[in-house]
């Protein structure tokens, strides 16, 4: 079945699954080892998470993305997806336009890269356009400045699909598989909850809010009968970690636990993930997330306060406003804007700042406070943090986090990665 992805174009899938064919295709190709970020982006490109891109971006598309927030053909695009390489590596690997190389990860074949462009790009222009700043303290700007001398553009074909380690293997779906799954569930509308967090009740209510807004005018009969036609997809971002973040295993397992323990119905809620290193590009990253989720087949995308922001670089609702500048027909996903949910002692419940008028009494879900409670090993009240979620966080700390639910140097050095590439 042919699926249509972002920009109204055919969903990309450039994957060779036949081992013999793959071995034939890579015969004689020069092997170029890649780091984790490039390996994950090659995987995402090949499966169509970044459709209509078929490979790493060429200079004209990067330039158009920076200047117009669109690819050369006019398709909305907000963050360059690039392959960086040093001048020395270009010489060492004999890389030339018109040739192909074999990308390898941890010593094993990963993908064929058809080199169509070799170029440089001004980092300040790029940073200002994508991040709205050239401040090297911004993590996205730092990443841009740290890229090697040149960039290679061209098509990617995955020849050795990744194997996902437990527990990630239960939650990995390609864009096509997401769409097939939604079809099986009978979902007519699906709203994305983008996350890098273990959920507290504030997150839970954001999802409930988004589900109601997404379902909107559609019939409630099917839902009452037990087969909802609107779903919430928690699509966690699994990628580069920083010390103090929640460990990936805790994020994915606790998000699914909201369904497993009945806080959401089985026919309403589902968890999966996307491999992506956050750029913290605020509004531009919100557009990028919308593009990815369009490719997964979602119809709606929830955006909260300060979506994908960092520090004080963006206004709280910049990531909402940017969608007003994009013509509806250019982005086939409807943004659902949500405001903060918090605990009000007067109401005695979790409520929304858009509804409750006991402002002086509000107790917000500060990430720092929740983290502090979890670190003390003290179970928070179930109204703000579900007891099953707390237990899973503690279990994950023991099983995957070397005693901590938060990323430590030990986790970074020895923790199990989400995926591996086996020998072909």
């Amino acid at each position: 079945m042919e699926f249509i992805g972002h920009g109204g174009k055919k969903l990309v899938e450039r994957v060779v699954t036949d081992k013999k064919e793959a071995l034939n295709k890579i015969k004689g190709l020069k092997a170029v080892p890649v780091r984790r970020q490039l390996a994950t982006e090659a995987i995402s490109l090949a499966y169509g998470f970044f459709s209509p891109l078929e490979g790493f971006m060429k200079k004209n598309d990067v330039d158009s993305t920076c200047k117009n927030m669109a690819l050369v053909d006019g398709t909305v695009w907000s963050i360059p997806i690039v392959f960086d390489i040093s001048d020395q590596e270009i010489v060492d690997y004999g890389i030339k336009v018109g040739t192909s190389v074999l990308l390898t990860y941890e010593g094993n074949p990963l993908a064929i890269f058809e080199i169509e462009d070799i170029y440089a790009y001004d980092r300040d222009t790029w940073s200002q356009a994508v991040y709205g700043t050239t401040d090297s303290k911004h993590p996205g700007v730092k990443r841009t400045l740290d890229y090697k001398d040149k960039f290679l553009g061209g098509k990617i074909t995955l020849i050795n699909p990744p194997k996902f380690n437990p527990p990630f293997d239960q939650y990995w779906l390609t864009p096509k598989q997401h769409r097939e799954k939604f079809g099986q569930k009978g979902w007519k509308r699906v709203v994305a909850h983008q996350t890098r967090n273990v959920p507290h009740s504030g997150h839970e209510w954001l999802m409930k809010h988004a589900w109601m807004a997404t379902h909107a005018e559609m019939s409630m009969e099917e839902t009452e009968e037990g087969h909802a036609i609107t779903g919430v997809l928690v699509n966690a971002i699994i990628g580069e970690k920083r010390a103090g973040d929640y460990i990936d295993q805790a994020i994915i397992l606790t998000q699914d636990a909201l369904r497993k323990y009945g806080y959401f119905r089985d026919d309403v809620h589902m968890t999966s993930f996307t491999l992506w290193d956050m750029r913290y590009a605020g509004p531009k990253e919100a557009v990028h997330h919308a593009i990815i989720r369009t490719n997964l087949g979602l119809t709606h995308h929830m955006f909260g306060r300060d979506h994908a922001g960092v520090g004080t670089y963006y206004g709280s609702y910049d990531a909402h406003r940017i969608f007003n500048k994009i013509p509806k027909e250019k982005l086939n996903i409807t943004p659902i804007f949500v405001v903060e949910w918090l605990y009000c002692p007067h109401c005695g419940e979790v409520t929304c700042i858009g509804l409750c008028n006991h402002k002086k009494e509000w107790q917000g879900f500060s990430g720092t406070v929740i983290r502090s409670i979890i670190m003390d090993g003290v179970k928070p009240p179930r109204l703000i943090f579900r007891p099953e979620i707390f237990d899973i966080v503690q279990e994950c700390a023991e099983k995957y986090g070397f005693g901590s639910p938060f990323v430590t140097q030990e986790y970074l050095d020895k923790g199990t990665q989400a995926f591996r590439i086996d020998p072909l």
Binding site: P345, T368, I373
Partner: protein, 100 residues
């Protein structure tokens, strides 16, 4: 009175019972949906010494003005000192015990 910067010890039932026994339960504060905390005060000088002693800890100078991310065993130790010494102002003794 000079401003102080607390280390918040979160109070479960077991800890609350120990504080009651030590006559310190009234020092707890309602913090979040009925969950209580015990704010152990620090001067700015003590904040600097705590953060130096435990490099993973952070002083949140922007919002909460509290010391966060202290390891659990360190906070357990602070709580035990509060209970055994029968007072909340124990950070000088705590820092001396750790050679800081």
């Amino acid at each position: 009175m000079a401003e102080t910067y607390p280390i918040n010890i979160w109070i479960n039932e077991e800890r609350y019972a120990k504080l009651q026994k030590a006559g310190l339960a009234e020092l707890t504060q309602d913090a979040f949906a009925g969950l209580k905390k015990l704010p152990v005060p620090n001067t700015m000088n003590q904040v600097d010494r705590v953060v130096k002693l435990f490099p993973k800890a952070k002083f949140d100078s922007a919002t909460t003005k509290t010391i966060e991310l202290l390891p659990k065993d360190v906070k357990d130790d602070i709580f035990d000192m509060v209970v055994s010494m029968g007072k909340i102002d124990i950070m000088e003794e705590f820092l001396k015990k750790h050679g800081a």
